[in-house]
């Protein structure tokens, strides 16, 4: 869970606001295509969250998200942990999902 402290806002308020949603962070080409650093959506399974992302950012389909599933060139990780493509993974309120274009290295 990400707890950010913003000047002028009590941390508790911010935590409450955040804890109702799942945060999706974008990196690399995914960020270029969405032109956003992150997006908040309602909790659900990974498939449901990815569908919501696809709906909000159609430019990610089909290259990065297909029918709520990560395409081969998308790396999905829960809060920066090991990569996952499990569509049934439950993402509870306050979870953070990281989306990165998968070809790394160099």
């Amino acid at each position: 869970m990400v707890i950010e402290k913003r000047p002028g806002l009590p941390a508790v308020w911010f935590l409450t606001m955040h804890s109702k949603t799942v945060r999706v962070e974008f990196y690399g080409v995914v960020r270029l295509r969405t032109n956003r650093e992150h997006f908040d959506t309602t909790p659900g399974t990974l498939a449901e969250v990815l569908r919501a992302v696809q709906c909000a950012f159609p430019t990610l389909a089909p290259d990065y998200i297909r029918e709520g599933r990560p395409a081969p060139h998308l790396l999905v990780s829960l809060d920066g942990g090991p990569a996952t493509d499990d569509p049934t993974l439950p993402l509870v309120a306050g979870a953070t999902v990281v989306l990165v274009s998968a070809q790394s290295g160099g």
Binding site: E25, Y27, G28, V29, L32, D63, Y64, P70, A71, H73, L75, V76, S77, G80, G81, P82, A83, T84, D85, D86, V98, V100, S101, A102, Q103, S104, G105, G106
Partner: protein, 607 residues
């Protein structure tokens, strides 16, 4: 002769102020067994390096290897590999470079260039398609120049601007053990081939020739070239085209795999890395995109005129505690100008910084410092730079005590930008790689970043096979030589590689044979090390990675990694001690190795 090749190499012998060059026939079976690039390079190194030769001795060969695909017009194939015994690791070194110099070499009408010997004075070697016209010429005025300045000087002397030059910078002249050879703004970086060239007193090599290799089926080659050019514009290469590998920095920081301050941490503030990302650098210094010759991807992103890729950005940035764009760009520029490998430069500086912090060194060097002046000291071997010019392993040994525990290298080669405690397949890949800590000959990080792989835990069952697979894959790409950034485009890598070779060479390659050639190359590189005295203790990571858990969690279990190493050896057909037996050599078609100039241990096994 098979298409795409000439069936011979140029053997260049330097003595005093003279050069003798001649063509040497290559057995056609060699091209079939090793294809080209790093495979051919490993073969020629075995043949030409006397057993136990010191890397900077006159007899030590410096080898430039080409490939059958070079010059065919297939995208990303304008590449060559430089192979030598590394002065940094004392083991095999092969590094790739690209662009017009590669295409120029092919016009010499040979598949490789092997240079041995040493000149009496700093000279410029001019290689010609006709060996009798190869020349050396003293070049005292070029001493102290960068490779780019040498190129300009050569161009100024000639009517034709189409002159192909490879040169060393000041670091190569000073035999810095991680000096590079540079051409067309690209660098054959890792392992110190620039020092080997410097040891021969070669400041520059130029090329003149008009030879053209014929291909077996020109129409089919052209069709493949069109197909891959088109595919190279797809999503698989989008990251390289739009952002370059520098896009990794913020993603790796977020995934807690970006090494910081000499591998003491993986945590950085998003605000800090933001300034070093492609977007941050572009805002700060402006951005242009360039390309190697004959490449349709064009991953070469420059900021304020300075080329930046992830490994440079990591090594001269967060690894050294540097988060300011100006400092990063100045350090990268200094390495390029002076001819230094950025990873080893950053790795050695970061190690020295930690030593200073711990009071083991009394140099005024701290994390976050401006690196450019220190890099100049290294290249010129001035002051503390002389000790750092030997690399982090030698510096640690000279300091003794606790220092070797946190000198982050394997076999003397400084680690690339992947935190092994948080990437446990990569940990194995780095440990066993023949070239030393290496992300380009292994690519195990790809396995760690795949869904279903828990990269935080060692997988004794599947991890070693993943390392074998990624090593073979890399050896295949590096033998053909195809750019690694095309790899996502190849859906069936070995079958597609075989198809490229069939239409180019006319030989009936299939995917299995290409994979076998890759595995043979990996084993021959290991055999070379074995011949030169390698033992299993070299296939380990520095103690830091076993003894110091990351603050965010993650450590390598020594016993488990040892078990994984053993399992890796078994998968490769080696003994528990990692030795390649004569029987295994025969299985791989390396019969000629058995009974040749082997290390004593290997010869004993044969009895």
């Amino acid at each position: 002769m098979a298409g795409g090749l000439f069936g011979k190499y140029l053997l260049v012998q330097l003595t005093g102020e003279a050069v003798h060059a001649e063509h040497v026939e290559l057995d056609p079976r060699v091209a079939r067994q090793f294809i080209g690039g790093v495979g051919l390079g490993a073969y020629l190194l075995w043949q030409h390096a006397p057993v136990g030769v010191l890397p900077l001795a006159p007899q030590a060969p410096l080898i430039f290897c080409l490939s059958p695909l070079l010059g065919t017009g297939l995208t990303t194939t304008a590449k060559f590999t430089v192979v030598c015994k590394s002065p940094l690791t004392n083991r095999i070194s092969d590094s790739l470079s690209s662009s017009r110099f590669a295409l120029g070499c092919k016009k010499l009408g040979v598949d490789a260039i092997v240079i041995v010997g040493q000149l009496a004075r700093w000279s410029h070697l001019h290689l010609h398609q006709d060996p009798r016209q190869c020349r050396v010429r003293a070049c005292p005025n070029w001493i102290g120049l960068s490779a780019q300045e040498v190129s300009q000087a050569v161009a100024g002397e000639r009517a034709s601007k189409k002159v192909h030059v490879a040169a060393i910078g000041v670091a190569g002249e000073q035999l810095v053990r991680y000096a590079t050879i540079s051409n067309d703004g690209r660098h054959a970086g890792r392992g110190g081939s620039g020092a080997v060239m410097g040891s021969k007193r070669l400041k520059a090599i130029t090329i003149e020739g008009q030879a053209k290799a014929t291909v077996a089926d020109p129409r089919a080659v052209a069709a493949l070239a069109r197909g891959y050019a088109q595919k190279s514009q797809g999503v698989a290469t989008e990251k390289y085209r739009l952002l370059g590998t520098a896009a990794n920095l913020s993603a790796f920081a977020r995934m807690r795999i970006l090494p910081v301050r000499n591998f003491q941490a993986v945590k950085v503030e998003p605000k800090q890395v933001k300034r070093l990302t492609p977007e941050g650098l572009a805002r700060h210094a402006g951005h242009v995109r360039e390309s190697c010759a004959g490449c349709t991807i064009a991953c070469d992103h420059r900021y304020g005129g300075t080329r930046m890729e992830y490994e440079t950005q990591f090594a001269l940035g967060p690894l050294c505690g540097v988060f300011e764009p100006d400092k990063l760009l100045a350090a990268a520029r200094a390495c390029d100008t002076l001819g230094l490998d950025t990873i080893s430069t950053g790795g050695t500086l970061a190690f020295a910084m930690e030593c200073c912090e711990r009071g083991l060194l009394d140099w005024p060097l701290r994390f976050g410092d401006d690196l450019a002046a220190w890099i100049t000291c290294i290249a010129k071997r001035e002051g503390p730079g002389a000790a750092m010019a030997e690399g982090s392993r030698a510096l640690a040994h000279s300091l003794g005590g606790d220092a070797p525990r946190f000198a982050c290298h394997v076999k003397g080669l400084e680690l690339p930008g992947y935190e092994p405690r948080a990437m446990q397949t990569t940990a194995l890949g780095l440990a066993v790689a023949a070239r030393g800590a290496d992300h380009n000959r292994s690519g195990a990080y790809q396995a760690d970043l795949s869904p279903g792989v828990d990269r935080l835990r060692a997988d004794l069952e599947r991890g070693p096979q993943r390392v074998v697979d990624t090593e073979d894959h890399a050896a295949m790409l590096d033998s053909l030589i195809l750019c690694k950034f095309l790899r996502g485009v190849l859906e069936h890598p070995y079958a597609e590689a075989a198809a490229m070779l069939r239409v180019t060479t006319g030989s009936d390659f299939d995917g299995l044979e290409v994979r076998a050639a890759a595995a043979r190359t990996v084993t021959l590189r290991h055999l070379f090390n074995q011949r030169e005295g390698w033992t299993r203790v070299e296939d380990r990571l520095p103690d830091r990675f076993y003894d110091e858990p990351l603050p965010q969690g993650g450590v390598i279990d020594r016993a488990t990694l040892e078990q994984m190493v053993t399992r890796y050896y078994h998968l490769r057909g080696y003994t528990d001690a990692g030795q390649v037996t004569p029987a295994r050599c025969r299985e791989l078609g390396l019969d000629w190795v058995v009974g040749s100039n082997l290390c004593a241990d290997f010869a004993d096994r044969e009895k």
